[in-house]
Amino acid sequence: MIPAKFDYVSPTTVEEALQALAAAGDEGKVIAGGQSLLPVLRMRLNAPEMIIDIGKIDSMRGVRDDGDAIVIGALTTHAEVQTDPLVREHALLITKAVSEVADPQIRHRGTFGGALAHADPAGDLGAPALALDAEFVVAGPGGTRTIAATDFFVDLFTTAMEDTELLTEVRIPKWSGWGAHYEKFVRVAHQWPIVAVAAAVKVDGGQIAEARVGLTNMGSTPLRATSVERALVGQPATDEAVRAAAASAAEGTNPPSDLNGDADYRRHLATVLTRRAVLAAAGG
């Protein structure tokens, strides 16, 4: 299908991109890897007048060590994040989750920042970003600000960013030595998760010292299963103990109903997948 007509610019610096965004007003749309936007344009679900292609802004690409955090440039592709040694060492949960994004073709085109800024509650990166206290560095006409993950995701496809702002990088505190697992439940491999659970666990002497659990597609934004996190502290990493803690995984969630299952089924899945994710994270 053919998108509606649009104008196109491809700035090479963040400043140029911000100027283009400001000039476009409501009619501008940023494209990075295009893996979500292009289908939307082609199916004419949206028809922005101006497409701002940020793909040539090299400063927004790559992963770097920034002391107590690692910083992932928004334009870094999923495939680059997936194989990055810094990410693996300090944010294993990100490595695990990004490996589950769609398929290899999409992981080589789609970008880490683009997927997060798209804020699809069924996207694979929101829950781990939330679980790991990621911070979103956003450039705008008034300068740069940092938004905590808990504030970043506002609603379905909606973030705390203004139309005139651009996500430039994502800072993730170091979680070195934590075990991690992303448990994703799908019917076919190329599908968005029906439900997925992101778990990071610090095990000390066979006991869970601390845990972080994020839920994908259990509401209009990624969610944290804080009651599960609390219940896990001090528990042995056994099936029985984790099962009990995971029972509250769906508390406070408001999952969707669709062709893949209703909300009740998703709530049930959340408990099963949470147990599996936590046990897998604790095991390695």
């Binding site: 299908m1 053919i2 007509k5 439940f185 076919v188 190329h190 062709l259 299952g261 089924y265 997948l273």
Partner: protein, 833 residues
Amino acid sequence: MTSTQERPADAVESEIGKSRRRKEDQRLITGRTRWTDNIQLTGMLHLAMVRSPYAHARITAIDTSEAKTAPNVVTVLTGADVSDDQGTLITAWPITTDQKSPAHPPMAVDRVAFAGEVVAVVAARSAAEARDAAELVDVDYEELPAALDLKQAAEADADHGVLAHPDLGTNKAAFWQLDSAAQGSGGSVDEAIATARADGIVIEREYRQQRLIPAFMEPRSVVVDPTGEQITVWSATQIPHIVRFALAATTGVPESKIRVIAPDVGGGFGGKLQITPEEWIAFCVARRLGRPVKHTETRSESLMAGHHGRDQWQKLTLAATKEGRVTALKVDLLADMGAYAALVGTGVPVLGAWMFNSIYKFDAYQFNLTPVYTNKTWVDAYRGAGRPEATYAIERLMEELAAEVGKDPLEVRALSWIKHEEFPFTTVAGMTYDSGNYEAATAKAKEMFGYDELRAEQKRRRESNDPVQLGIGVSTFTEMCGLAPSRILGQLNYAAGGWDHADIRMLATGKVEVVTGTSPHGQGHETAWSQIVADRLGVPFEDVEVLHGDTQVSYHGMDTYGSRSLVVGAEAVVRAADKVIEKAKPFAAHLLEASVDDLEFTGGRFTVRGTDKDLGIQDVALAAFTGHNLPDGAEPSIDASASFDPENFSFPHGTHLCAVEIDTETGGVKMRKYVCVDDVGTIVNPMIVEGQVHGGLVQGIAQALFEEAVHDESGTLVSASFVDYLVPTAADLISFETGHTTSPSTYTKLGTKGVGEAGTIASTPAVVNAIVDAIRHFGVNDVQMPCTPARIWKAIHDQGGGGGEPTPGDAMPHFDEQDVADRTAGADDGGAR
């Protein structure tokens, strides 16, 4: 001209049975070919369709003024603008003489009957401009109540409920019955069921065949060039010959003035067995403007408005003896036709009428069909067409019967199936199966599968309450292929014949052109037909060129569907080749100075018995071309044509075994093993057959697990993209293990039976049987397709068994001895369950 030259050894080796790489693949895989959408003609315009967003609505006004003035728009036409030209699209198979078929104008005039129906067309200089202008066409609709639910639609009449077409006064298209007592092929089904109720087993079930969407790789596309003496139509179709006939019949243009070309076509699966409104509209616009036009549908349009498949409710009553031998089957079928009677239309479920009895010997059988119109996308053939639905029903029932009598499902089937020594066998439905060997296929499949070991593992998992349960599903299927004997089609009120045609042209250089009336769209006919001709004429494989899909080249043909090409089309090729040999013989005798009676033909050469004199058929072709030295009065040609009308259908069969693991905590399905042993008669190219089997299996498994066309309560297609219509990929499936037994068809020289639909027909019940088998001990006896994890989990959960904790006393395979005893004890009432 005699020669004693030795032929290379490989030239006489049979081509039949050789896994030749496909001739087609290099150009297809590298994209060095021309699809319909690649065709560019000078001055060509592009079309975009304006489609109804409503399932049922009156069109009160259409304003095209803004669209007409959009950049580079040449014309905008509505249904009203062409109402003088457009009649109704044809249905080839009204199953009864009094069938009710609503008029189906290619463009709706004052009422739309499904969401996606075309209401206007825009022609512009580019596809983008046409699309933009289509959005400017302003249509006022007055929404009408829509008939969407099949069962409710069947109940509706002029006074109650909603009619898809109010002027018909009913939603029922017809009533069609096959009754074994009435036609003399068996007893009374009601008597047999009554007997079983008194002293036997009666199983009553209702199964849903969900609506599916043919999802071929290449969307439909059509180009029409009206310049020139003939109007040329390129179409991504399975049926160029039928398209030509239908366009002639519905436009008044003489058939001889229409040339239809199906170039390389990217898949069809029945979805391109259609005369589409878009073909007709493109033809109409091109003629009106005198300029070439092109229309290529988007994937969204393809999913929404191209015909769908399946969509039935099947009410089934199976009667059996206490031991589990089937005595009768009664089928009450509701089939959703969608908004219109499509090309095959109501005939699709009729094709199942002879297949519900499958490989079994029943005393009595009755099939009652009510096709029903609804305000949904029209329904027509989809890979298997009628036969997968029938096979699903009977193979699910055989599994239920096995559970009921507490026997192994394979043993129960063997109680009722036709024994090898009983062929040829006339079934209770009245079909005569010529050959088959169900025992051999089943024995081989069991061995390949490791059946006993998997049953033992299943038992262990049951006993240990493993959260992952193992299920084994069986499907011993047959199908009727090689559509079709023309006389039978005539008796069934089908509008055309079922023969096919071939021409063989012997060129001066010894090369051979084979023209086939079948129309491949991915199957590999060029390779297989070349092998067949190389084998028959003894010429090198590389010397054979197969021509097809252009009515100017192939003037006679019935095209490709219903696993007919190899069975009917290639048989015509064989017979044409034999005629070439017969025509060449007197020429060879003349050139060899021998008597015709002394000639033998092997390996492409005529030899004179008792001498070393011989002559190749390619040399005879040259002699015919020059005409210098032929028998007196001979026509200087050894070309030949043949039409072949099959005497009977062919009946491939096979035994498919599937093992699945069910994660009882999530309802997730993991396929563990899939073994199939298919008997498709003679195999021409094992690699192509393997490809057909694998692809067919995937499509059948997809019905069991993944695919479903879902409409919302207003009639809008919800599964309108591949995000929601789940077509599986290689990542979602395991490697299948395939095997063969061979019982050649006795009706053809080749002995082939057809393989295009076998995998699809067989695999769906095998998978669902495996799923039900895995969780039957929770009290589950059905899961509606597609068997999503949510549905499976709910089935377990609703029976109180959730979370991998089955009722302890029932933790065993359903034919376990203890289980049998329990069930038999409780089965004294002998009634339905």
